[in-house]
């Protein structure tokens, strides 16, 4: 076997309080599809950022064939043929496809638009895809944008193409096209580093899989000789079964009914949810799940539709009304929507209630202290004091603060949008336990998640969305990952 094209040696990167990469040593062969597998927080993204020069590791080295780098810069990564396609595309939306494809190219002062159009067309021809090089990127679908990103990498003669969750925005048929292109690149000798949560995909296209967990390298396996079960247990470090808490109660009567909700791209969505139930909402990125949550919570205006709570029709036009009717939202983007990161834990916990409990505008400091302390102990929020700023807490504890804020407002229907995104494994378990306790106490949870395992493990029932349309309901007895994914990637 020839020497690996890329090797990382003893790579360590710490952020204050977090070891994001812990002494990672591994290598990538020329012309292989090498998958990186791990939960959120496992360190995959940090690893590729170190390889591409986006961050500087604390120690260790990165070796391209024979060139040894202690610290990689974006420039020298590019020189060595590294191209990265991040989850958030790095395209200039206002420019044309061709301009984007050759954006990073070194050239003179003048751009020959005709020439780059021709060259872009040639690349697309090789890739066997149909994209107009003159089209404005803004007008392309996510799938086409991704293809433009790949073309960009091809134009730069990438030898190592890193793809971070490339299938997330794509539907089933588009994923097929992408796999074909990956196959072609591989035959041309390009090394593909492929990051994905979707284990099925890895079996389809990867040659080897490296599993990471909590910033550590766990193992590299040949895809042919491993199984899904083995990968999952390596990934979570234990059997899946004990991961999701057992619940002691059965769902009760219907507490909320949603009829024909439309808006923000969602069309005619109807469903109901019961007391003490966790209703999972499945769908791919862009399927309209977060939009649905925003509408139900009154954060965004709807076009039409009705919300009935405990048998009464309720008009919800603002978050404050939603809270009044007992609906709480734990938003996807914790730092920007969930809390005020530069404010104290206490201030955040009482954020939704200090107005209501104030007497003649005077806030009730004593009661607020009590409330904050109560939730700190109840949820085991790890913070040196209630005055600590939320930015200094870990993701899991931030999420607990947000949950405390929501519950302090006496809400009973809780919408969790990606409740465990970016949270380490241990805290995830705590969040699951909390959610389970809450429904046992008679609260109702609507849970949006992109992690299929989590959705299947936690929910009593699932509804599936695809491109803003309601695709159907899946009862617990019929939970099957493949079935749900098929529904979610529906008619597109």
């Amino acid at each position: 076997m020839q020497a690996p094209i890329l090797t990382v040696k003893n790579l360590t990167k710490t952020y204050p309080g977090v070891v994001a990469l812990n002494d990672i040593t591994m290598s990538f062969e020329k012309g292989e599809v090498h998958a990186l597998l791990g939960e959120n927080g496992a360190g995959k993204s940090t690893l590729i950022k170190a390889i591409s020069g986006a961050i500087e590791p604390d120690s260790g080295s990165i070796i391209f064939e024979d060139k040894n780098y202690i610290k990689m810069s974006p420039g020298s990564a590019r020189e060595n043929g590294v191209a990265v396609i991040y989850q958030e595309f790095s395209l200039v939306e206002s420019l044309s496809v061709a301009q984007n494809v050759f954006l990073g190219e070194k050239r003179g002062l003048l751009v020959d638009n005709k020439d780059i159009k021709k060259r872009a067309a040639k690349i697309f021809e090789q890739m066997n895809v149909n994209i107009d090089p003159a089209a404005q990127v803004r007008k392309l679908s996510p799938a086409k944008k991704q293809l433009v990103e790949i073309a960009k990498a091809v134009s730069a003669n990438a030898r190592i193409l890193i793809m971070d969750e490339p299938s997330a925005p794509l539907c089933a048929s588009e994923v097929e096209t992408m796999f074909e292109i990956i196959g072609k690149l591989k035959r041309q000798g390009v090394t593909i580093i492929y990051i994905s949560h979707r284990i099925e995909e890895l079996f389809r296209i990867s040659d080897r899989v490296t599993v990471m967990r909590d910033g550590r390298y766990i193992d590299t396996l040949s895809t042919k000789s491993t199984s899904r079960k083995e990968l999952i247990s390596l990934m979570v470090g234990r059997e899946m079964r004990e991961y999701y808490p057992k619940r002691s109660t059965e769902p009760g009567e219907i507490v909320m009914e949603v009829r024909n909700i439309s808006g923000l791209g969602d069309e005619n969505i109807s469903f109901s949810v019961r007391k003490g139930e966790i209703l999972g909402v499945a769908g791919l990125v862009g399927s309209g799940r977060t939009e649905l949550a925003s509408i139900l919570y009154g954060a965004m205006p709807k076009e039409s539709g009705e919300t009935w709570i405990e048998g009464k029709k309720r008009e919800i036009h603002s978050p404050s009304q939603a809270i009044e009717y007992g609906i709480g939202l734990i938003p996807e983007d914790r730092k920007h929507h969930g809390c005020i990161i530069f404010a104290s834990v206490k201030f955040n916990i009482v954020l939704s209630i200090f107005n209501r409990t104030a007497k003649f505008f005077i806030v009730d400091l004593k009661a607020h202290n009590k409330t904050a302390l109560y939730y700190k102990e109840k949820f085991n929020i790890k913070t040196p004091s209630l005055e600590q700023k939320v930015i200094n807490l870990s993701g899991g504890n931030q999420q607990k603060v947000i949950l405390a804020k929501t519950l302090a407002a006496n809400t009973s229907i809780l919408i969790f949008d990606e409740p465990t995104r970016g949270i380490d494994v241990g805290s995830k378990q705590e969040i699951y336990n909390l959610m389970s306790e809450l429904v046992d106490q008679g609260k109702t949870i609507i849970m949006i998640s992109s992690e299929m395992e989590e959705l299947l493990g936690m929910s009593d029932r699932l509804i599936v969305l695809c491109e803003g349309k309601y695709m159907g309901e899946v009862p617990k007895e019929e939970f099957d990952q493949r079935h749900v994914i098929e529904l979610a990637s529906g008619n597109c």
């Binding site: 994001a20 530069f342 404010a343 954020l351 107005n355 200094n392 504890n397 380490d424």
Partner: protein
């Protein structure tokens, strides 16, 4: 009490800077450290403090109002004309002036809350509008010699201190109380801390936004009364320029340019740092123009410090004990 308003180093640093400046200037001029001069510094700056406190509501709420200078101009001439030209009673003139100021603030607030443009641009635009209106109404004339009852604001001493000093102290204490103990103040802190998070938490952010500009207009009008009572004269050029001093003082005093924090004592210190600098430089014979340069540099320095502190706080996150927080990288 939300610890949101304590800014560690800066809180003491500004006090320290003020003391250092005072020591330096007392060496450079024998007249600096006299009771008379110090009293002057205080009484000449009461309206800056009132103005800066008005502005602090907008700034802590995450906005900015650059139109306060021309608000003062317009409110000033209208109040003065009521008293001198139309011979309205003093109390009525003052009420008209304050209502007008409050309305100008409200006007700013409604625009800022409804069109999603930087408040900086909005208030530059409205300040030009106020400028035009001020000159049209005043016909570019000067209105002076106000009734004694009006001059009372700046002249009359109560318990050894001029009325406007008492008024300023009252306003400082009142504003501190609002921020620390009232739901309104907490709403302002939440609005400036993170508008979207505040909205999702059920806070009526749009109404809050309008209200902070309205309150700013109200205090600006009060500051105007003090200003024209002290001068016993006004025209349309009285006022513009004050927004710069108030803004600089607020930022020097630790009111974040990005909103969400600030304390009133720091703000008062900030006003005095600028005042002492101006006064000290004057006594040392530097002239007015050099002061502009120094004040501009101070504003740049304070804004950089604010920015630096924000990013610094972001980086040195102390994790909670016995806890492995999530990898930031994901």
């Amino acid at each position: 009490m939300p610890k949101i308003n304590l800014r560690g180093v800066q809180k003491y640093a500004v006090m320290f800077i003020l003391i250092i400046l005072m020591v330096l200037f007392s060496f450079s001029s024998p007249y600096f450290l006299t009771i008379r001069n110090l009293t002057n510094i205080i009484t000449q700056n009461t309206y800056f403090i009132i103005l800066a406190i008005g502005l602090s509501f907008v700034m802590i709420g995450g906005g900015i109002d650059l139109s306060v200078g021309w608000q003062m101009s317009l409110v000033g001439v209208v109040t003065a004309m009521c008293m001198t030209l139309y011979n309205l009673p003093v109390w009525l003139s003052v009420v008209i002036g304050i209502l007008l100021g409050t309305f100008l603030g409200f006007f700013n607030g409604v625009i800022v809350a409804n069109i999603k443009v930087f408040p900086l641009i909005v208030t530059i635009a409205t300040s030009t509008v106020f400028q035009g209106v001020s000159y049209i109404i005043s016909q570019a004339k000067t209105y002076r010699s106000y009734p004694e009852e009006f001059l009372f604001i700046a002249k009359e001493k109560m318990l050894g201190m001029p009325f406007d000093v008492w008024l300023t102290i009252f306003i400082v204490v009142f504003a501190s109380f609002v921020y620390y103990r009232t739901s309104y103040g907490w709403n302002v802190l939440a609005l400036g801390g993170n508008e979207e998070a505040a909205r999702l938490a059920g806070i009526k952010t749009k109404a809050m936004k309008i209200s902070v500009y309205t309150i700013c207009g109200f205090f600006t009008a009060i500051a105007t009364m003090v200003m024209i009572a002290k001068a016993n004269t006004t025209n349309s050029s009285f006022g513009p320029g004050t927004e710069f001093t108030a803004l600089t003082a607020a930022i020097v005093g630790g009111i974040s340019f990005m909103g969400g924090e600030g304390n009133m004592l720091g703000l008062v210190t900030g006003v005095f740092i600028l005042a002492v600098l101006g006064n000290g430089m004057q006594l040392a014979g530097w002239g007015t123009y050099a002061q502009y340069i120094v004040k501009g540099i101070i504003l740049l320095g304070a804004v950089s410090f604010d920015e630096l502190q924000k990013s610094f706080r972001g980086k040195t996150r102390k994790p909670a004990p016995d806890q492995a927080p999530t990898a930031k990288s994901q």
